[in-house]
Subunit: 338 residues, 2 copies
DNA sequence: AAAAACAGCGGCAACGTTATCGGTAAATCA
DNA sequence: TGATTTACCGATAACGTTGCCGCTGTTTTT
């Protein structure tokens, strides 16, 4: 029962002019008298004219659709990034198409294959934990589709990227624990192989080095990003011969998991053991003791990524840019020491 | 420098057959020999053929795009619903276009106006708190675009809707507090005027009535959905001449806000005061004491909403359906009494 | 053995735009 | 005054599909 909208030809017929003129009038005033332009616009409103995006896309070879490939959307960071992306896209007349990989490289590959079907004008990507070398994204770029990475980048691919300052954030977080009197600081890291896992790890290591603190391999644990992973990691840390007295976690979710595990073990976080996270998820101020963390500018990252992508689309030329946004240490209870 | 994909005609030329045959072979085996079909498929793979969605949409009068209008995506419930929607849409070859209203009726109206431009095949909607009578959505339906409401519906609009069982969930939550020994139960409600605010309020009232408990008007507070609102509501409740001894909150975020406020007041939740929420946000098991709540099937709601919408799109005429999904009481510490 | 049915394929016209090229009248120039 | 530019508009061909009609041979029916 779908009614059909009025087309450009209907307007032309009603006005007894060529539909080519209507097409021009509807876009720019180029080559049309102001008078007839008014007529067309009025008639268009009267007939409730809606441009057909398929026809437009077919004729112009574009879709006004942007793809967003990311592991998931059910956490604070990603959903906030998307909100930022969405704001910019919406204001520029672009649509967003989500591709949720569930943090699986396999699903990511499948989606990239299918995603080419959707004739996208550009792509915003946060790769999955176990992502490969990013050859799929390189292929997209080779086909002329601009790609911008955010948060988690495929390093081999030479294109624009927007990330938080992982190294300095991690450095600052670790140093904060040192300054509060902690000496045996462990690191619950992300999955090995991910660029920002390495960056945050390096920040952690360099902070320890600066303050002449021991760097034990058994105090560094790699695993996934979930709360459950954080719990398990903490339990494993507490099995070490030499127990740490503080934990810097790669993100807040893992930090929260660790805190819950320590609570079960009867360890008093914020007194005998310090914990610092990364993200500033709202849960950080809800959990007790509240969680000290590095705040990430998630919304900004989304906005800037999208702006960058739109620039790439506009100018055909590509000159890859790297944007690094600073984080901010938010001190709460979990890093106290009494 | 966007490279062009191989088209159906390229395949036809390479194989010396008509492009109409290629088109048929690529879809159904209808009217094509299995042999030639194999040939076409092989050549398509060889040439890395990608169907052009714009051309397809133009010929078929559809866009394979679905719109999702909702207040926001940065919370557990909405992001999970979207994940459910996304799964169904993706598997059926549909794209999702997000319209984030920031829970503002004004922005909602603006977006609906623009959204008509995007030639959508259907619409999934969760109205904003202060939404109007939904005439904008009625207009879409009149134009032949199927609309399905989820969670928050515009009651005046006669179309399919998918919601959780607000009434029974609220009833069960309230009764649980009663059964645990609480007698002076307050309700922190949502914004007045919203259908599910009323449904949950009624469940609360009926549970009190069933157990012959007092129903005080000053124990019912309407306000927004945020954690900050919950905090303020709890503070206001504690200013009452006759203080309640328990709170049933319209959602977990408000319940969390209330718990944090009570903690500051020195009130012991789960001992002298009971709190029950609604949603089963992950934060419910992180906060201390952990929060008793009614679990909502958010992912299911998303999936079913999208399936329903796709049905509406397939069959041109479809009778509006109302799907009500049951919640489940999750008992934790916040509703204990010692 | 003629008639009817069918399987397999090609031709062509949509679908609603944009883009390119002309063409005509008016305006400007020489 | 004639030539040339300018402003405006029309005709037509894309864009890459799908859908309808019709044309062959071959198979089945009667």
């Amino acid at each position: 029962m779908r009614k059909h909208y009025a087309t450009i030809k209907d307007i032309a017929n009603a006005l007894n002019i060529s539909f080519a003129t209507v097409s021009r009038a509807l876009r720019d005033a180029y080559d049309v008298k102001a008078e007839t332009r008014e007529l067309v616009l009025a008639k268009a409103a009267e007939l409730n004219y809606r441009p057909n995006v398929n026809a437009k896309g077919l004729a112009q070879h574009r879709s006004y659709n942007l793809g967003v490939v990311l592991p998931g959307i059910t956490n604070y960071y990603f959903s906030t990034v998307i909100t930022g992306i969405q704001e910019v896209a919406y204001n520029s007349g672009y649509n967003l198409i989500l591709y949720v990989t569930n943090d699986s490289a396999e699903r990511e590959r499948d989606m990239i294959r299918n995603l080419a079907l959707s004739s996208l004008d550009g792509l915003l990507v946060c790769v999955s934990s176990d992502s490969d070398d990013g050859s799929g994204f390189q292929a997209m770029i080779d086909e002329g589709i601009p790609v911008v990475f955010f948060d988690r980048v495929a390093e081999q691919v030479n294109t624009s990227r927007v990330v938080q300052d992982d190294y300095n954030g991690a450095f600052e977080a670790t140093e904060h624990l040192v300054q509060n009197g902690y000496r045996k600081i462990a690191h619950i890291a992300g999955p090995e192989g991910l660029a920002f896992t390495r960056a945050r790890l390096k920040g952690y290591k360099d902070a320890l080095k600066k303050h002449g603190l021991p760097l034990k391999q058994e105090w560094i644990i790699y695993s996934g990003f979930s709360q459950a992973h954080g719990e398990q990691d903490a339990l494993n840390l507490w099995k070490c011969r030499s127990r740490p007295d503080a934990i810097f976690a790669v993100n807040d979710r893992k930090a929260v998991g660790a805190m819950l595990a320590l609570k079960k073990l009867g360890v008093e976080v914020g007194k005998t053991v310090g914990v610092v996270g990364f993200t500033n998820d709202p849960v950080a101020s809800i959990i007790s003791p509240s969680l000290t963390t590095i705040a990430e500018p998630a919304f900004e990252i989304g906005k800037i990524s999208c702006q960058l992508l739109l620039n790439h689309i506009k100018k055909k030329r590509f000159d890859p840019k790297e944007v690094v946004l600073p984080g901010k240490l938010i001190v709460r209870e979990s890093s106290l020491k009494v």
